[in-house]
């Protein structure tokens, strides 16, 4: 499992969770495994740490939850709300701007190269 740098991870779990819940419902374990698989294990959360993110998103109205019996067990499924969809659009735009700007710096931009 990849280690994560907290200073670079601010807001990333929230963005990933919202994106993963776009168009489908998932429970916590599924979300964490999906993050690992879809990011090629580059972005990984301490697995239990996803729940405070989920609960905070639910409290802010970005996602909803529903408890359902599955295979003799009860699971809490999370789904994106309209408010969450709007938040996802906002965060995605912000993320694109930031990564674009950082990339520009990394490839040299208009400045002279490193000596």
């Amino acid at each position: 499992m990849a280690t994560s740098n907290p200073s670079f991870m601010n807001g990333v779990p929230e963005l990933l969770v919202l994106r993963l819940l776009w168009g489908r419902e998932m429970y916590g374990y599924e979300i964490v495994q999906a993050i690992r698989e879809e990011t090629g294990d580059v972005v990984s959360l301490g697995e239990g740490v996803v729940y405070p993110v989920l609960h905070a998103l639910e409290r802010s109205g970005a996602i909803t939850s529903e408890r359902r019996p599955v295979g003799g067990r009860s699971r809490i499924y999370y789904a994106l709300s309209p408010k969450g969809a709007a938040r996802l659009t906002e965060l995605t735009e912000l993320w694109s701007k930031i990564t674009g700007a950082v990339q520009q710096v990394l490839v040299g931009g208009g400045r002279a190269g490193l000596v």
């Binding site: 301490g46 697995e47 239990g48 729940y51 405070p52 905070a56």
Partner: protein, 227 residues
């Protein structure tokens, strides 16, 4: 073997997390751990090793606790604003309830006195007024102090603010001691406020603080037993 989440539960409460979100967090962590153990058991034969790996993937209790504690939206008011919770709110509740009690008694006396005009007031009225005044300066601060103690105990707050709150409640109750002089056929009634002596304060403080002190001692002993 299944991991005990008791230390994490205690950390969360000590960190000021409300019971309801803490309970839900632990329930979901248990479910998640079950899934991880099942996944690891499919990959390896030693069940103990599978569980160890599953626990490691779930995260250390320190990390899991910090992730929840750092979110202020899940914290109790007692943790976010102990000054307001343990000092301002109880003092305000005592002041408002005392004022309402005095107003209620005065209105009752006026009602009865007005109906009987110059006739002598019934004996029950004097007992009722004295009882209500006693309630507002002696019983009410103690009840509020007990409530404060239970809230502080359940929230696992550090004892400083709750202790100050209990002292403030008793001091306020003893300082603002309303006394009602009932009207007679020739004189008006009167409400006066006079402080009690230090002995009354000490007795009331002992009664008010005892349950909270007992709860703290009991918890401390229990935690020493369970390690």
């Amino acid at each position: 073997m299944q991991a005990s989440f008791d230390p994490l539960w205690r950390r969360l409460l000590h960190g000021g997390v409300r019971r309801r979100p803490a309970r839900r967090y632990l329930a979901e962590l248990r479910d998640h751990l079950d899934d991880l153990i099942a996944e690891e058991r499919r990959a390896m034969t030693d069940p103990r090793e599978a569980e160890t790996r599953a626990l490691s993937r779930l995260g250390s209790f320190d990390m899991l606790a910090d992730a929840m504690i750092e979110r202020r939206e899940f914290q109790t008011w007692a943790h976010k604003a102990p000054f307001a919770t343990y000092l301002i709110a109880p003092a305000l509740a005592l002041a408002v309830t005392t004022a309402l009690t005095v107003v209620g008694v005065v209105m009752t006396v006026k009602q009865v006195h007005g109906a009987g005009q110059a006739a002598a007031l019934p004996a029950w009225l004097s007992e009722f007024a004295a009882g209500m005044m006693f309630f507002s300066h002696a019983i009410l601060p103690v009840l509020l102090a007990w409530t404060l103690g239970v809230v502080a105990y359940r929230s696992r707050s550090a004892p400083l603010w709750p202790a100050l709150g209990i002292v403030a409640l008793v001091a306020l109750g003893e300082t603002v001691h309303p006394t009602l002089t009932l009207p007679t056929a020739t004189t008006h009634g009167e409400v006066s406020i006079s402080p009690d002596g230090i002995a009354g304060f000490a007795v009331l403080l002992a009664v008010a603080a005892l349950p909270y002190a007992a709860l703290l001692v009991w918890r401390s002993a229990r935690e020493r037993q369970t390690g």
